[in-house]
């Protein structure tokens, strides 16, 4: 097990390197940090532009730039230089990541609880009215774009705020990850964050809920139709014990790997959700960097994103092996 983990970890290092190369080539050849300077009116002197090119390390060939960037990152932990001064890429990346991470983790938890509960219920009561209703709702959420759902929730919350308390402060927070001047006490701060998390978490959770509940239903059905469940019932175990101890535990295995695989992908959904609720997380960092033609923060963002994909793929593989003893790691 440990040998397998180590080998997989080592194998993912070259993948990560090639992935950074690919990302660097795509991004560095399509994003020109000097474009806003060149487009400025009245035009600014060539020497200024050249000085900026040197400052950002753009005066070398593409392979040389990749090498400089990579060695700077690996050897010195240096993410490169932003076009705007006073922008510490590493620091910004970490602070943005934790804002988003909070949202993604809560959304995954909420979505998992809902998906497992609904998945198990609909599998046990297959083809019942509950099953059809849940399936219909599942398909609806599967087809509902994140941004449409986010805008709907936000507008409803604004309407709700206006009807319940027209002139006071809003009851449901619809903007930002925290109040402009949050309460100073620890509990007050937590409450403030939680209030702001409410709507974005629901949006993000329901998007993944749709596919996870379908997934859980299918795997639960497969387990329920297997011989060992029939045997467990036949030898006289109670229905609830068979369901929870024998069936559910095995039916959770496929879902757990699916969740690990989907987690990195939730980042994309988080970008959209954060944009609508005007959060200052990964989404904001990304869009701001694009608007400013800011090459190195973009690269940092993408390196973190592809690292997350690779790490979560690894976690999915390991989870599968840990949870299902039949799988041998050759």
């Amino acid at each position: 097990m440990i040998a397998f983990t180590v080998r997989r970890l080592l194998a993912s290092i070259p993948v990560l390197f090639v992935s950074t190369l690919l990302v660097f080539l795509i991004v560095a050849s399509s994003v020109d940090p000097l474009a806003p300077l060149r487009a400025r009116n009245p035009p600014i002197p060539q020497t200024t532009i050249r000085a900026e090119a040197v400052r950002l390390g753009l005066n070398h060939s593409l392979p040389q730039r990749y090498w400089d960037w990579l060695t700077g990152l690996v050897l010195h932990g240096n993410w490169g230089t932003s076009v705007s001064s006073g922008y510490d890429i590493g620091q910004r990346l970490i602070s943005s990541f934790f804002v988003t991470f909070r949202l993604v983790i809560l959304a995954i938890l909420l979505s998992l609880i809902l998906a497992i509960a609904v998945g198990v219920l609909t599998a046990v009561r297959q083809y019942s009215r509950l099953d059809y209703a849940a399936t219909a709702i599942g398909f609806l959420f599967l087809s509902l774009p994140t941004f449409v759902f986010a805008i709907l929730l936000k507008s409803w919350a604004i309407e709700f705020n206006q009807t319940v308390r027209p002139n006071g402060p809003p009851i449901i927070a619809t903007l930002f990850e925290a109040s402009p001047n949050p309460p100073t006490s620890f509990l007050g701060k937590i409450g403030d964050s939680a209030g702001h998390l409410l709507l974005p978490t629901i949006v993000l959770a329901l998007v993944s809920y749709a596919s996870w509940s379908r997934f859980q239903r299918a795997s639960m059905l497969e387990v329920l139709n297997s011989d060992y469940i029939r045997l467990a019932r036949a030898k006289g175990l109670s229905r609830s014990r068979v369901l929870l101890r024998h069936a559910l535990r095995n039916a959770l295995i496929p879902l757990s790997t699916q969740v690990a695989l989907d987690t990195a992908g939730l980042l994309g959904g988080a970008v959209i959700t954060e944009t609508i609720f005007e959060w200052h997380g990964m989404g904001y960092m990304f869009i701001q960097a694009i608007d400013n033609y800011d090459l190195y923060p973009l690269l940092a963002w993408l390196v973190l994103a592809s690292t997350l994909v690779i790490v979560f793929n690894l976690i999915a593989d390991l989870l599968y092996a840990v949870l299902d003893p039949r799988i041998r790691l050759a």
Binding site: I26, S30, L142, F147, V148, I151, I158, G268, V309
Partner: protein, 324 residues
């Protein structure tokens, strides 16, 4: 479906009309061996699909949406880029979906946006499915180091967050060539094909060990012939299912990109840009600006998902259960 499949699994289903006829003629004695009718694989799949009511309804609705998008503009009296003097009119007879703050007729806008969204979705799904099928089939057929190298490359592309690279590249491309939606389609196809490649490869890996492949090889068929005439047609079921799922996925990604302002851009419109324009419309008192384009996105993705579900059930050889 190739004829080979019939020998693999002869599926004989009694038909009600014929069996009743036989039943009467034989004097009330059931004669099952004469009341069966052989069907081709294609017929079986088609009949199974027709039994899936949600899928059939969805197919009809989807075709209506396609007609609305592509034939509608020819019949409708207003163009999507014509500014009328009716500013922010609620839905009425002359403007079934109302107008926006510039006097654009939303009905014409939604038609044009739906057409654009569908064009992108269909071209991306067809292109990425064709590339993915060829790639996956070759990789799975040759196995060994060819497979290893090809699949590592595909995996690599999957580690790049699709939406993000699409934003970066389309940002650059549409700065130089405005309203070039086919660039967006090209980028999305370049990012989506590995999904299909992996699914086709997994199927080819098992199909290449089948007897009919061995027989074809014994008869002297070349590798390309075996892959494209014998193996790929047998994967058609999963390929079609992947195709429909890619359509749904592309619609979601394209509208999200256009919503953020990185996909289709003004003066061109897609359903995503229309929703983006109508973002604050609900609070501002013009809810139709948001609801109509949003409704069309949901309609397209929902119907495609149901069609995909129906196709998956229809192509599934193990499927025995009867749909309610």
């Amino acid at each position: 479906m190739p004829e080979k499949n019939n020998d693999d699994a002869p599926v004989l289903l009694p038909t009600l009309g014929a069996s009743l006829d036989q039943f009467v003629r034989s004097g009330g004695m059931p004669q099952r061996e004469f009341t069966v009718k052989a069907r081709t694989q294609r017929e079986i799949v088609f009949r199974r699909f027709l039994k899936h009511r949600a899928a059939v309804t969805s197919l009809i609705v989807f075709l209506l949406v396609v007609l609305f998008a592509f034939v509608g503009p020819l019949l409708w009296n207003q163009s999507f880029n014509f500014m009328s003097n009716d500013i922010e009119v609620p839905p009425s007879g002359t403007h079934p979906f109302g107008t926006d703050s510039n006097g654009y007729d939303l009905f014409a806008d939604v038609m044009h946006g739906t057409a654009r969204t569908l064009e992108i979705a269909l071209s991306v799904s067809i292109a990425s499915t064709v590339i993915g099928t060829v790639y996956g089939a070759v990789s799975g057929y040759f196995r060994g180091w060819v497979d290893t190298v090809m699949m590592r490359i595909a995996d690599l592309i999957l580690t790049i967050p699709a939406i993000v690279v699409a934003i970066i590249v389309s940002d650059k491309l549409s700065a130089s060539i405005s309203s070039a939606w086919y660039f967006l389609a090209f980028i999305l196809s370049a990012l989506f094909w590995p999904v299909c490649a992996r699914i086709v490869r997994a199927q080819v890996l098992s199909l290449r060990e089948k007897e009919f492949v061995e027989a074809a090889r014994a008869l002297g068929a070349k590798d390309t012939r075996i892959i494209f005439r014998h193996i790929v047609p047998n994967c058609l079921g999963s390929i079609i299912v992947v195709l429909t799922l890619t359509v749904a996925n592309t619609v979601l990604v394209e509208t999200a990109l256009s919503f953020l302002g990185f996909g289709v851009r003004p003066p061109d419109t897609s359903l995503g840009t229309l929703v983006s324009n109508g973002q604050t419309a609900i609070q501002d008192g013009f809810p139709w600006l948001f609801y109509f384009p949003a409704l069309f996105i949901i309609l397209i993705v929902l119907t495609i998902n149901f069609i995909g579900d129906g196709l998956r059930d229809a192509f599934d050889p193990q499927q025995t259960r009867v749909r309610a």
